[in-house]
């Protein structure tokens, strides 16, 4: 108890010291909110950590707004595929498989790349999420005779 008391006092004094680098109130609040939301999701969906797949040859990210995705609609997203060195992949052959993260459920549609938009960006159509929560999009990317897998997580709120 004494130790905890001493630590609290020290922390309180440290926070009053001028010159120490501190995040602005707004930044702190934003970080707290996002941390809270992430914790909330984890509490609701007690998942194992995101599985590691592939050899890291390609990275993938969603360019379109993932918060616009809704359940029970046929959705499309735009993804950007890059090599590990950051160069965009413009000639990718991509296979997409989607499943829910926290329950054993595959998406009942067969989403696929419908358009190559250039600069490593691709349009994926045919996504139909049937429940809220976390979904995993597994991309098998083939480019210049190299094939690798990479995962994307999407949260449906």
């Amino acid at each position: 108890m004494r130790l905890i008391g001493a630590a609290s006092i020290l922390l309180a004094l440290a926070s009053l010291l001028p010159g120490l680098p501190r995040a602005s109130a707004q930044q702190e609040s934003q970080a707290q909110t996002s941390q809270f939301q992430a914790m909330q999701w984890r509490a609701r969906y007690p998942s194992t950590p995101l599985p590691k797949i592939g050899n890291g040859l390609f990275t993938i990210r969603i360019v379109s707004d993932p918060s616009a995705l809704k359940i029970q609609r046929l959705e499309a997203i735009i993804v950007e595929i890059r090599r590990a060195n950051g160069r965009p992949v413009n000639d990718a052959n991509v296979a997409v498989a989607v499943r829910a993260r926290d329950v054993e459920r595959r998406m009942q549609t067969a989403p696929r790349i419908t358009r190559n938009l250039g600069l490593g960006k691709y349009r994926v159509e045919g996504l139909r999420f049937t429940m809220h929560g976390s979904w995993l999009l597994e991309f098998e990317v083939t480019s210049q005779s190299q094939t690798d897998k990479t995962l994307l997580e999407v949260l449906l709120k």
Partner: protein, 431 residues
Amino acid sequence: MNWHQSEKRPTPRKSARRVALVTALAALTAGVSVPFMAPAQDKTSVARAPWNVDGWNKEELRKMRGLWIGNLPPLKPDPTNKYGDDPRAAEFGHLLFFDTRLSSNGKIACATCHKPALNFTDGKKLAIGVGITNRNAPTVIGAAYNRWFFWDGRKDSQWSQALASIESTKEHNMPRLQVVHVLRRSADYRKRYQSIFGPLPARDDREGITRAFVNVAKAIAAYERKLLPAPAKFDRYVKALIDKRKPAPDDRLTLDESQGLKVFLSDQRGRCIQCHNGPLLSNQSFHNIGVPFPGKGGDEKGRIAGIKALLGDEFNCLGKYSDARPQDCKQLKFLRDKGPDLVGAFKSPTLRYLSKSGPYMHNGSMRTLEDVTWHYRTSPRAGLDKSELEPFVITDTEFVQLEAFLHTLDGPINAPKKFLKAPGRGFARRY
């Protein structure tokens, strides 16, 4: 007053609030930020608001809003049926829906298995037409919002479902040629048909006969599109919460109902919302939940067989009898037709209008709602492939409460009154 209404509703735990207050004060004194503090306070304030009579948290309110009927968008035109919103077609379809002449024995109409008095179901385990089918008759109310029809989703429009039932040997057992004869023989039908679809085909025009048969089904679908769900007790309750006002006494959920709703919404316990979501409480998807069936399960393959039938169907969205453009048929274009999860999988039905729609499940194997909830609670192994279910972790009381909640989803039907009964003259048979 029910016994449970006199019970004290659970109040937030005071000790938890005290702990939170002490932690907050300690943190402020120490100058250390506690990441969850602000949202947690916000969450509590919603749960304690005077209008929030059952103390729902933000997340639960969000989920309830998703189930609320007010979230049901206005019915979009059916691209496969250009007559779908033609009032003359709906009137004609109303007559056809109740007409027993559209069956080989002159005794079966669509309304035989979809009786208005039973929320457009028949109260039977299996639908009985000219023969005994192997499927339970689902409700037609709100079916216009469905993406797939029949329990295995082998049809993708209301009209193609209707014409399959008319030709099925176990249902109407009525060949398309005979259907067109019925139109020819009735002066009223002839006149109505010609005013909507043009002249009737010649007797030897096979293609024209098929098209006329399709038009009959499109008229029936135009009628069925008028049968929509109206707000139930649950919806009125949620509307009050959305408006931040206390629900009217009649709309307030009893303790059993609200606790049942809690279980329904919970991602850890009931998990019902995973498949029964959206304002129709169906994710319009197919799941193997291990429903027992007699025999070897020859016709229990479910979605995997439904997809095969759908893709080879001349009456599907891409077929020549559909009025849709290819770009309107994206559901068909992105269909996944392989995978073990599709074996033995049947459509998640709507949970609205349950009280009169029993027996339940695709093969009517569960007589009461209690049987259904018990099935979910025990989650037996599937006869074909693997059941998706995990056993419910709920108490005996919650088990009963869940069923109490399901009854709050029973509401009236949003349709012109004349469409909720058999048309007068010539349709003396009661439905």
